[in-house]
């Protein structure tokens, strides 16, 4: 099945989609906000209180979302004020990397639901190289990254090979491999000979040594690390692969019409396998980014942090186009970063961010619905 493009409308529809999604988010905040409910308890005696509380709740939520994601005007120093945007980029890096991997398979007509497993394997492999070897940084870091990507590529290649050889449906295989990968990594984390930190009984590896940590981009005051650079580089690379390389041309041909590709001499099985290999490597880099960049105090079986699944949405929102995915990754990164701030300052559970994100993707994909809601004229199809 070829991925059809989400036919996004113009910028107006995009803005309206975001507004609509935030509107539904507001409703959820309203109905669950303690102050608002308190105000409602004497609504008829003094309705203005309810409205006041409602406004407080909603504006508080979105203002804090903004402060956590972009610019915190309350921050004491300039560093503190602009820190949120760097946090956004930090969160965007793994989402983009994994989104690129998943988007690439979409373009080849494949569904990669196996992001979780690929991230885990990539992250664990990188962690293994990082904690078991003692090398100078110039060798250690690239080696750890490379091994992580390689192991994840091999792991990610399994569904491709199985599909090419036996026709096994990649959706099933990737879903199953998520669990298998999880338990494999878990097992490694309980063995001192593999990953478990010496002297500890917890399923966690030792912290990453300095020589294998992705360097900070903006100095120690910010958490933004070179993983983001990796993501940007990967975006260009994937763009080149898809649009300028013969391999990518074949991916797209196979993705759009496998029969025609086959009849034109393209080896469909090889295309599937290589698409999954590259995809696995990219998603694996997201795992590497986590272990060597964002959470360097040791790999655990939760290192994927749900990014493997979030990345599907990122790839979809980015319409499987590399730069679209980068943009979607940054948007979702902003929601993540802002979500934490919002939870800390307003006590609104971050889960609401999931709701808003998914609504944005849905509305963006259905411009006629958005136009109908806002009674905009629809162009004759």
């Amino acid at each position: 099945m070829a991925m059809r493009e989400i036919t996004t409308g113009n910028a107006l529809v995009a803005v309206l989609s975001v507004l609509l999604a935030m509107f539904f988010g507001s409703l959820m905040i309203l109905f669950t906000d303690e102050d608002v409910r308190y105000g409602l308890s004497y609504f008829f005696a003094r309705p203005s209180d309810t409205f006041y509380y409602a406004w407080e709740a909603i504006s508080g939520a979105y203002v804090s979302l903004w402060r956590g994601a972009v610019f915190n005007d309350l921050g004491g120093t300039f560093t503190q004020q602009i820190k949120p945007i760097t946090e956004t980029l930090k969160f965007a890096a793994p989402l983009t990397l994994a989104g690129l991997g998943i988007g690439l398979t979409f373009r080849a007509g494949l569904f990669n639901i196996g992001g979780r497993g690929q991230m885990l394997l990539g992250g664990a492999a990188a962690a293994f190289v990082a904690v078991k070897l003692d090398l100078p940084m110039i060798v250690h870091l690239p080696l750890a990254i490379l091994v992580g990507a390689l192991v994840a590529a091999l792991w990610g290649g399994i569904p491709g090979i199985l599909k090419a050889l036996t026709g096994a449906h990649e959706v099933i295989v990737t879903i199953m491999l998520n669990y298998v990968g999880y338990y494999l990594v878990f097992y490694a984390l309980t063995r001192k000979s593999l990953l478990q930190a010496p002297g500890s009984g917890n399923p966690k590896s030792a912290p990453m040594p300095e020589s294998a940590i992705l360097p900070d981009l903006l100095g120690p005051k910010f958490n933004l690390h070179a993983g983001f650079l990796l993501a940007v580089l990967a975006t260009f690379l994937v763009w080149w692969i898809l649009n300028r390389s013969s391999l990518g041309y074949r991916f797209r041909a196979v993705g759009e019409n496998p029969s025609a590709a086959r009849a034109a001499g393209i080896n469909v099985g090889v295309a599937y396998t290589s698409a999954f290999l590259i995809s696995g490597a990219l998603v694996g880099l997201a795992g590497v980014n986590q272990v060597l960049g964002s959470v360097t105090d040791g790999a655990t079986s939760g290192l994927d942090a749900g990014i493997g699944f979030d990345a599907i949405t990122v790839a979809l929102l980015g319409r499987s186009r590399p730069f679209g995915i980068l943009a979607a990754g940054i948007l979702f990164g902003a929601f993540k970063s802002g979500g934490f701030f919002m939870q800390a300052s307003e006590g609104i559970p971050v889960d609401i961010v999931l709701v808003i994100q998914s609504l944005i993707v849905l509305f963006l994909a259905a411009p006629p619905l958005v136009k109908a809601i806002f009674r905009l004229p629809t162009k004759e199809a």
Partner: protein
Amino acid sequence: MPGLWKTPGVMAAFTVLVALLVLIRPRSGDSTFRWSRDGDWFTIPDISLPANGIVWTAVALCLLCTAYAAWNARAGRKTPLVLVSAFAVLAVSGFMSWAVAGKTLPVVGLLAGALALAVPLVFGALGGVLGERAGVVNIAIDGQLLFGAFGAAIAASLTGSPWVGLIAAMIAGMLVALLLGLFAITYWVEQVIVGVVLNVLVIGFTSFMFSQVLSENSAALNNPPHFPRLEIWVLSGIPVIGPIFFRQTVLVYMMYVAVFLVAWALYRSKWGLRVRAVGEHPKAADTVGINVIATRYRTVLLAGAIAGIGGATYTLVSVPSFGREMTGGAGYIALAAVIFGKWDPIKATLAALLFGFASNVESVLSVIGSPVPSQFMLMLPYVVTIFAVAGLVGNSRAPAADGVPYRKG
């Protein structure tokens, strides 16, 4: 002709695997299989056999099966399903005997548990089969299960009646299905997108509500009564069969009915003919006066209701309260069962049961103590599924118009 060699290949792999187990870790002692439970009409005695003996016998028989399958493949024939089934039973028996050496395996508990674990998967898979047969890819099964569980918990807690909870679960499943329909059928949004995103939406919504509303009032809102176990008169007393199939909750009986009804209606009724027509070739259906859009909506809603029942099993049968993301991705497993079962209600049910069985082998063995580390045991159902899909199913054909929105000129 790699296609024909797949099955013998996988059989060989499994035979070697079982043989390796005994070679590397030979077991001593007898393996005991227990067949009876309290309440049976009569008791079948436990069977005890020397573990190593059974394993080697099983390996030998597996080898024979594999050889026969290979001979078949050489002659250009497909491996007959009977042989595959026989092989599976042999390989499983061999492995189990090895694992339970010196201990007792409660066979009835193993199978009854397998059935129980499969219930939400079966309902989810039925919903998936229905939707896809009508041409709407349903990745949102997980969302429907989760929302069903959520709705059931709240409604049953508020009213004190599990039946109301069940209805609420169906409505909840239908709500998710309605969104799926709205975006996939009416607005032609790529159905995989809608499905994936709806799952996230439901997770976000239920988790939000759980922490904001449910956990503060858990006594009133998240304290559902549960369906009791119902023994079916007479039938429940049949040894082995009775305790497995007829000492279950009403939802399991509903599952039997649902599987039968869906299978019958899909292939034998006017409704089913139209559903399949719409999923295979909507334009053709349109040209004979069938309302494609309405048919798809109706089917997707029904599918949602069925998946919703599956969700109800979480909060009205398994555990007495709703929990964050409590389906644990079961909807994705159900989706795998749909594909594995080649979009057929009966086969998808069998696939779900296979999965339930593999999961329960893990549970049972970990309880009685097995020589394998727990992580590897936990992997078992997933690995088995991969092997089964790669070795036995291979290319399967979805309904022709699956995932393709219908646009009129």
